[in-house]
């Protein structure tokens, strides 16, 4: 009995934290269906204004275009980042040599470079190449991230060397070993990497805001940020926009969350 009683504060604490975590999200979802007045009136129940909010939102904002550009940017970033970083992480581990270790160390230093310190020259670089407003300008600076390379190097460390030996004996080319042996085995790691990369790319705000000068190319975070620029804010429509902008990352998280934790275990030992 006493041990049961001792558990109470623990569950109470968890309940409060969980409530505080989910509360604002619940409010966001509910508010997307309410009128602006009801949102400010703190209604915690779903309303019937969803369609009107949608009409008010799409009247002045091209949500379809923003969703399209966000999707292209995020998918392109995720695919390229996974390919480039995983093959590099694998290369550092499997073909390990002192010089490669030195290079790895230098690349890890890049983790310490704040984006702010590279932003202006990057803008100038892409402007010189006439790439302002292009998806590649959004994507290129975020493809190769030291953290992902580290993640995949750690994963490669747990990949049995005997498999590689056996594959070589069978006459498989090095790239084929990576592609046919390593990639399928490391699915949880890829899932974890995909979740963090997609979320970061989808939610990225500062760099797209700098490089996508023309509002025709704006992403969802840029759209909702601009939404509050006017004098009168339609809070119902705003919350609907915020909800739409958040749906893809929430869905991805729920689909891949099992592998997410599994993939992260063992990154830092």
């Amino acid at each position: 009995m006493t041990s049961k009683l001792r558990e109470v504060p623990k569950y109470a604490f968890l309940s409060i934290v969980a409530l505080l975590s989910v509360g604002p999200l619940y409010f966001m979802v509910v508010s997307a269906t309410n009128t602006s007045q009801d949102v400010l009136g703190s209604s915690m129940l779903p309303g019937t204004n969803l369609i009107a909010n949608w009409q008010s939102l799409t009247e002045f904002q091209d949500v379809g275009s923003a969703m399209y550009h966000s999707t292209v940017n995020a998918v392109l970033t995720t695919v390229l980042a996974l390919v480039v970083s995983s093959i590099a992480g694998y290369g550092f581990e499997v073909y390990h040599s002192p010089n490669k270790d030195r290079l790895m160390w230098v690349l890890m230093l890049a983790m310490m470079i704040p984006f702010a310190a590279t932003m202006i020259p990057l803008f100038q670089l892409f402007a010189d190449f006439g790439m302002v407003n292009s998806a590649f300008a959004v994507v290129l600076p975020v493809i190769a991230t030291p953290l992902l390379i580290l993640l995949f190097r750690q994963a490669a460390r747990s990949f049995p060397h005997e498999i590689i030996e056996a594959a070589r004996m069978d006459g498989l080319k090095e790239l084929a070993i990576f592609w046919k042996m390593f990639v399928p085995t490391m699915r949880p790691t890829y899932a974890a990497a995909a979740v963090i990369t997609f979320m970061a790319a989808w939610n990225n705000f500062l760099w797209p805001k700098v490089i996508l000068v023309n509002s025709d190319y704006q992403t969802m975070p840029m759209l909702i940020s601009n939404f509050t620029g006017g004098y009168v804010i339609d809070y119902g429509a705003l919350m609907l926009a915020v909800l739409i902008a958040s749906l893809p990352t929430i869905v991805i998280f729920f689909v891949l969350q099992r592998s997410f934790v599994a993939g992260f275990t063992g990154v830092v030992k």
Binding site: A88, P121, T228
Partner: protein, 314 residues
């Protein structure tokens, strides 16, 4: 088929004798390895190191738009900073966020992870998902949700009034102290669950027998936590400290969207001011680059200190 000696990861002794020529197969394989690294290394070089050096050169230049020339004296932009009251305030504000938010968040995340790691805990998946969920939302989205909740006629005031905790509506985002507090609350809300996941992953690597041993020796749960769990989590703690320090020093989305830097620039972060200087109205790339180097140096110094401290406790 020729049997080949594969250079493996076994610790190699540095031989001082004449170098043995590697077999052609081994050499080819080493080249393959370099080819695997190349795309990532080139990208990091062009997209991170090169612009970092460019920014340093740029920070010694003045002028508007693309018409830039070396300043006279060269360090003009850096001396200008010392008289820039707004910039000095953004440094103070950013450091305030860092000093309050990061320790609060990481301690909370560590406690939560420790509770969730208990094998006898019920509804573990539910707690983990609920607490991590805020990390799935974009920074701009949550900033605007918080802006709405903390509006003068918003949810927080309504509830506090209903509970008779305040006499009249508080202008949360209109006063410096409360506006800064809202930003800190927002950061805690968004990032605590995220860091908890890192600690949970770290806890899975802890040998359970060490916890059993502590129990056998008569250590209570709190003692066990500090003497057994925390030391083993140290690499993970160091990683999260460095990541959240970097993130806080580069804070932009919340300042830009939640408070717009207001009232009177008192919630504005360094990155937000850097953006205003570099890309709004009269862009000044030279001064912007100089400001960005202050952020770079602060990140480097804090990371170096953290790694030093992190190493010492061994």
């Amino acid at each position: 088929m020729t049997p080949v000696v594969v250079p493996d990861r076994a610790p190699k002794k540095k031989s001082k004798g004449p170098k043995i020529k590697p077999s052609p197969a081994a050499r080819r394989r080493s080249l393959t390895g370099w080819a695997f690294l190349l795309p990532a290394a080139i990208l990091i070089g062009i997209m991170m190191f090169w612009p970092m050096f460019q920014a340093l050169i740029l920070s010694f230049k003045t002028g508007r738009g693309s018409a830039l020339d070396f300043a006279d004296p060269l360090w003009f932009n850096y001396t200008r900073m010392l008289e820039d009251e707004i910039f000095k305030m953004t440094v103070g504000t950013t450091l305030l966020y860092l000093a309050i938010q990061v320790p609060l968040m990481l301690v909370t995340a560590l406690i939560l992870a420790n509770i969730l790691n208990n094998p006898r805990l019920k509804f573990k998946g539910f707690w983990r998902t609920a607490i991590f969920l805020p990390a799935a939302i974009s920074l701009v989205s949550y900033s605007l949700v918080f802006r709405t909740i903390f509006a003068t006629d918003g949810l927080v005031n309504d509830w506090l009034l209903a509970l008779n905790l305040i006499d009249g509506p508080v202008n949360w985002l209109g006063n410096t102290d409360t506006a800064r507090m809202v930003i800190i609350l927002g950061l805690l809300w968004r990032w605590t669950g995220y860091n908890m996941i890192f600690y949970l992953a770290g806890l899975q690597n802890i040998d359970p027998t060490t916890l059993e041993a502590a129990k056998m020796d008569g250590a209570g749960p709190i003692r066990t936590f500090f003497s057994v769990t925390v030391p083993q989590l140290k690499p993970m703690i160091l990683l999260t400290v460095i990541m959240s320090t970097n993130g806080t020093l580069q804070l932009f989305d919340e300042s830009f969207n939640l408070t717009r830097g207001g009232p009177a620039n008192t919630t504005m972060t360094m990155s937000h001011y850097l953006y205003e200087v570099s890309f709004v109205n009269n862009p000044n790339f030279g001064y912007g680059a100089a400001l960005s180097y202050v952020i770079l140096v602060m990140v480097a110094i804090l990371a170096a200190i953290q790694m030093k401290v992190g190493d010492k406790r061994d």
